[in-house]
Symmetry: C2
Subunit: 338 residues, 2 copies
């Protein structure tokens, strides 16, 4: 009997469109994962091929879940880059090389269900809020260092967004006037001094100078090879690597302290590969920056945690966001009608 | 007939408790002011005398409005300093010298109506949102430079607050590592470089050096005398004064640019005596800082305005906040009961 019910139950798709990988997950109404498919993104093949590939990946996930796509109720897509949230368009995704990809209308045509686009870090934090490190937080700030530093903020369960655009670009607050050049063209942005990429670059320099012999031995001085896994190994071997990570985490902590003065979150969730590979070291560095910066009246007002869901945070969050958004819309329409 | 109705209509009190002055206004249900009373605060007489003085001021405002206090429905109090918003206590108000003043329970005992405490800048921005420069904004950031630099943020009409505390302490984000010492004991806070007080100090130095002869002539080098009115006069006479104000406004603009990356407000409202005395110069400086800092995708996403309500913003906002909060509570209770 319960099987019969399950066969008719609505399902949702959560989709994480990353620069290197894409991941589709089919979830039931309670957001229990039923099946999934992960594939390489192949952004260089262009947006048209990419949209087809997204749809195929969703199809394969349905197959894995053994669920008929007719049960689909809605799709949530988390994606980095500059997004038009109202129109559901990826305006600019530097890691994909796509411009103006109309992902929502494409999938809406294929499946005839609502499709909602959101920033990948917003999706990740929404996932952590529903299922992971940020459960039941009144307000939570997410900081996800990677190639850049992504940020997200949830206030009473709502994702803070601009008008049709995502915001919380914590990577692009100025922390050092006339500091190092940032990828965005400005100087002294937080991500120019403390992203995983900035850390990798500092480690590559140390390796070149001979101060990080383990790294040099293992991967040389190519910063593309100095990824989170390598860094977390090297922390045990090369003293300077530990120092570099600590310094970056401390710098993030100073910025997080300013964020506490601004937003007073109960919880700060650190995510991304490096924070998850080195949770203790990273958390300690961030906390020490915060403690050195915040005013006494904000002491003990927050908790720092590391994300718990890994790669699943964004798919789960995107699906949860799609589900919550559409349920809210239905509620609003009902209350307007009554 | 309408007179008869008016005599029974609910009224609200908005109260602005400042370091030098206090202001009580009686407002009707539509927040039309019916009467008011302004007095010196006399913080040095202590909290007990202060609470009595607040109550007397409200009584005098009722008299001015020719309204019977029995019609009072609720009181909203805007106040600077460290507040316990849940308990309605002024924990620490540096400009008053009070600690742990139980203002809400005191007035609640006197009037037997709900009394709500909020940060003065939150109150001011809430006033501008309902009646002034921020009307109908989806999200609005307030920046009020004075002795410090107060900040506030409204998101979809809601004041962003911490759990029982106010936040948006934009004066205490770090803008200059190892920068000048701030009143809070840290270094390089925005308010240490760009508050009205920091501007006055820079002008006093220039006056001492002989670079601001008009100021020196008028008020000498005592920075207590270099207030907003004096500064706005001197801008026309002493070139260096104009430069100092522009630099500070530009610095606020850089910080505002970071805020746009974080919060993506539609509107930025500049308030406080100096911004209101020199609206064009101040707005221009802030906009130029923002434009030099923000990323292209946020261009044209915001508007910069100067506050329109002057001293009335906080009283009007406090009353509006009290009214809206209590109406929402009643709604919630009704929906819980049904």
């Amino acid at each position: 009997m319960s099987d019969e019910k399950d066969d008719k139950q609505d399902v949702w798709v959560g989709f994480d469109l990353g620069g290197t990988k894409m991941l589709a997950v089919i979830l039931d109404e309670n957001l229990k994962p039923l099946g999934r498919k992960r594939r390489k993104t192949r952004g260089h093949e262009g947006a048209d091929a990419g949209l087809e590939r997204i749809e195929e990946t969703i199809q394969k996930a349905f197959k894995d879940a053994d669920v008929d796509p007719s049960r689909l109720r809605g799709i949530g897509i988390g994606c980095p880059g500059i997004l038009d949230l109202k129109k559901g368009i990826i305006n600019e995704a530097p890691n994909l090389g796509w411009t103006d990809a109309m992902v929502c209308s494409y999938l809406n045509k294929k499946y005839d269900v609502p499709v909602i686009l959101l920033n990948d870090v917003d999706a990740g934090l929404y996932g952590e809020y529903h299922f992971g490190a940020a459960k039941k937080s009144r307000s939570v700030l997410g900081i996800f260092p990677g190639t850049g530093i992504g940020g997200a903020f949830l206030y009473e369960g709502k994702i803070m967004q601009g008008d049709g655009r995502s915001c919380m670009e914590i990577g692009h607050i100025q922390v050092m006037p006339d500091g190092p050049l940032c990828g965005c063209g400005r100087r002294g942005c937080l991500e120019a001094v403390a992203s995983r990429l900035a850390i990798s670059a500092a480690i590559a320099q140390a390796a070149f100078r001979g101060q990080a012999p383990y790294v040099r031995d293992q991967v040389g001085t190519d910063l593309s090879e100095i990824r989170s896994g390598m860094i977390s190994e090297a922390v045990e071997k090369d003293k300077v690597v530990k120092q570099i990570v600590q310094d970056a985490a401390y710098q993030i902590g100073i910025a997080a302290g300013s964020m506490i003065h601004l937003l007073s979150p109960d919880k700060i969730v650190l995510g991304g590969g490096l924070a998850e590979a080195l949770p203790d070291l990273f958390k300690k560095g961030v906390k020490s920056g915060i403690e050195d910066w915040i005013m006494p009246s904000f002491k003990d007002s927050y908790e720092v945690k590391v994300a718990e869901l890994g790669d699943d945070s964004a798919v789960l969050g995107a699906a949860a966001y799609a589900r919550d958004t559409f349920h809210n819309r239905v509620k609003e329409e009902e209350s307007d009608a009554s």
